[in-house]
Symmetry: C2
Subunit: 521 residues, 2 copies
């Protein structure tokens, strides 16, 4: 029975229809609610989900500001039809992010989207005050994407037991949370945080402990509240659906349970405009999982998501074949200590998709090489990526007294790179359009911003750690307005107009860029 | 007629026999002097050279402190025999450098040799005061190898005409030095130093200008005086026999002339213990020269040099096949902007020879990417090379008012890396023996110094640009004396003994190393 529904929707917002239905048995597995949403020539189908206590919810994200006709049917034989009026999008809601041309992104309304994001793996499972710090920090840093996991995380610096679990624990299960007392775990890890091996313990037969056919609605409701709030802040939620840092067995539930969980998550979350699907973090660390299983997971998400949200899969040592049709963009972790963002242009030509370098190491001071690069190096990687036609993404791992590390818990940013990254975002938006790499000398990178949508028809040269005292340019018959950009000191110094063959003096410092904006005579 | 000869020689010193002979015709091409030098069971043959004015010289480097029997024969029918007494080596003369095991070097007397060198391409052709500055700088920097060219250099920042030429100019040659007025050349280079193309001009038919069968003895006498003085300072002279930065045609003399010149140079210079033969700088820029010609050049050097001095050939973009039998060690220029010394261990396994990274870019501020890395980066590359079982080599290119740039002219060192390189040399000598790389985590390099000759049986970990706040170690049943080495601040801090599983606190700064010296219980 339809209990209530959104009377006045907004374009790219969430329409929700609430139904009452059977509470007996296992409604998650035994019941369903489906909807068909028509407007103009378009009809979309969406599936609802069971939210506990006999309540079913059916959500939909409209893509037109017009009247929608919604027809609902349920497994218990009800059908109903309502009309919902949809108004213009709320301010700041530009719709889901799409691949705009081969290598870049735009929101559905056409506004370019330049991913400037970070990773806080399980920030949403931290105490409220840490979450509030995270929201504040994201806002201050002008970041517009947050990559995080649905499941809790078991890893060095991540030994605390979560307050809730994504699935119902079976009554009388051969395990209680007390078995994972943090102190015991630390001892088991040998005191050494570098002892990855000692973290390789887990519930042996997770099906005996968890009823994977019964997701905990409150667990998912909390995550969706976080997604929604991020959406209102203009932050994309790049949701990691599976990850291997696990002691509870959520990474080992078996293909059938996996796809059941994915259906639930997608039915519940896909109406949020800012959702992206990250199939895995470090898929290749799931040594027990075959590629066909990942492909089956991906097919489930594709089938269940009527909005075609962005989809990716992230690697540790070996990249997934990003040319697979279901993958919308490359979510890349560097696989070389020395060459990371420098490979962006190679990956572009290899995969013909946008390259988002979701893990280029973390600014910090942890014992591990992936977690202790400098702010300078992080910033350098962002600029390398941008001037090679891709997008670096941030991460931070400074060790703290209270154990709250941005990389995993969120909290407060401490590093020197976020301010520089915000400066780069300002440059990106000021340039507009999309940067395409230009072949050039081996000791510089260069991108051209001449396509449609460019606010500045410009060339952007970047010199990385090199420290030239001058660079010569040869553009016969062309005139430019020339800016010298100090990407570390965050200054843009205009040196006026130059034509033909000219030299630009530079301060023989690292991290300099030169922007040549074409002047129409 | 034997005019004079060394009465009392020294081991590894130069014995010289001076003869008078025909001065008419072309003695360089038409006459010869040969010697056979016997001592104990060894007999070596050496060839002399014409030094002008009817004077021929025959040189020999003895390898025993004992009496040598020297038999001389000449093309004009003279034969003679003398006995020369050879005493112990002069202090500091350890003989020629040899490949000591597969990957390292020792002097002939067994003393380990760790190449810590630099490049000053044509320092010896600069005015005397600059040369004196170079000698002083080399000494202050504790460097023990200098790579330089026999022929003058034509390149950006290298446009001055030399005072002498290596060959006699033909009378009435269709060219005079005034044709290469420096000002004209700079104009021709378009004012832009980056204009490599505009440097591609040269004497068209060098054989019409130069008589390649008549080397200028004074030109070579000057070079040998420089070699000799370097030898007394303990500096190896890594002589570049051919290079492509040329406007006089010395890079285009044709195979027959090349091998004639090589015979002259080797006959003249090989008795100096500190000579190395670098067949070319950037051999692959000789687009007009086939590999077979290089092989023929190498065969000439091998045949003519009785002492088997070290032989190498240096690349620009494409490495020579360093596995060729005549090549004693890999003389490597980095071919990637981001990975240089990081490849040392790969090159070792590829070529099975010592790896000397003769060009890993230059500390400086020139417009070019090869010439403007920081002192920090130069130092980092040295440590990467050392802890991967090879040897970084220095170079410096700070632009100066007077145009004297260390890279090419020598002079005075200005950079921040030489002091750190001297510190590394101190560490190398303190460790003794030879560093062999140890497989380890991807975010550190590690070498072990446990072979014969090691003064310290130690492991050396290096963390490069990473900034760990701690590193864990696991060596069950072993005890170490632990040093934390700040390779940039040049400090060695002993933190006492550690055993088994232990952690070493680090200051979360870049460029740190940890040395674990085994303690025998």
């Amino acid at each position: 029975m339809l209990k209530s529904y959104t009377k006045q929707g907004t374009k790219y917002g969430v329409l929700e229809l609430v139904l009452e239905g059977p509470a007996e048995g296992n409604p998650f597995a035994e019941q369903w609610v489906k909807g068909s949403f028509s407007c103009r020539g378009e009809e979309k189908r969406a599936e609802g989900f069971y939210d506990g206590d006999g309540i079913y919810r059916l959500r939909f994200m409209p893509s037109f500001a017009a009247e929608y006709r919604c027809r609902i049917s349920t497994s218990w034989g009800e059908t109903q039809e309502v009309k919902i009026s949809v108004g213009e999008a709320e301010e700041g809601n530009h719709g889901p992010v799409r691949v705009a041309d081969t290598f870049h992104f735009a929101y559905e309304d056409g506004t370019p989207y330049y991913p400037v994001g970070t990773t806080c793996y399980v920030w949403e499972l931290q105490p409220e005050e840490v979450r509030e710090d995270t929201f504040r920090s994201l806002k201050e840093a002008h970041m517009n994407k947050l990559r995080f996991c649905i499941f809790p995380k078991h890893y060095v610096y991540n030994l605390r037991e979560p307050e809730r679990y994504p699935f119902e624990r079976r009554p009388g299960a051969p395990w209680t949370p007390e078995d994972y007392d943090e102190k015991k775990l630390k001892e088991r890890a040998g005191g050494s945080f570098n002892s990855y091996e000692s973290l390789q313990f887990s519930i042996e037969e997770p099906e005996q402990v968890w009823d994977f056919s019964r997701p905990d609605p409150k667990y998912f409701a909390h995550i969706e509240a976080c997604i929604e709030r991020l959406g209102r802040m203009g932050v994309e939620a790049d949701l990691i659906l599976f990850h291997p840092y696990d002691r509870w067995g959520f990474s080992k539930m078996g293909l059938e349970n996996e796809n059941f969980y994915l259906k639930y998550a997608v039915n519940r979350l896909s109406a949020f405009h800012n959702v992206w699907w990250a199939m895995a973090n470090e898929y290749d660390l799931f040594s027990w999982k075959r590629i066909q299983e990942w492909e089956s997971n991906a097919a489930t998400v594709c089938e269940q998501d009527p909005y075609r949200h962005l989809r990716s899969i992230h690697n540790c040592m070996t990249m997934y074949d990003h040319s697979r049709a279901w993958i919308t963009h490359c979510s890349i972790q560097r696989i070389d200590l020395y060459r990371t963002a420098e490979n962006t242009d190679l990956w572009r030509t290899q995969y013909k998709k946008p390259c988002v370098l979701d893990e280029i190491a973390y600014e910090g001071d942890l014992p591990f090489g992936w977690g202790n690069i400098s702010g300078e190096e992080m910033t350098r990687r962002f600029w390398e990526a941008y001037t090679r036609g891709g997008y670096g993404q941030h991460g931070e791992t400074y060790e703290t007294e209270d154990g709250v590390i941005w990389w995993s818990h969120g909290g407060t940013l401490k590093g020197s790179s976020p301010a520089r990254i915000a400066f780069l975002r300002r440059i990106m938006e000021e340039n507009g359009g999309y940067m395409e790499p230009v072949p050039c000398l081996f000791d510089e990178t260069c991108a051209s911003n001449s396509g449609p949508g460019a606010k500045r028809d410009c060339l952007l040269y970047y010199y990385g750690a090199n420290r030239p005292n001058m660079r010569p340019f040869r553009y016969p018959g062309q005139t430019f307005d020339v800016d010298v950009i100090d990407t570390w000191d965050m200054t843009v110094t205009n040196i006026g107009r130059c034509s033909g063959s000219f030299q630009v003096k530079l301060p023989a410092k690292p991290y300099m860029a030169v922007r040549l904006t074409r002047v129409k005579e």
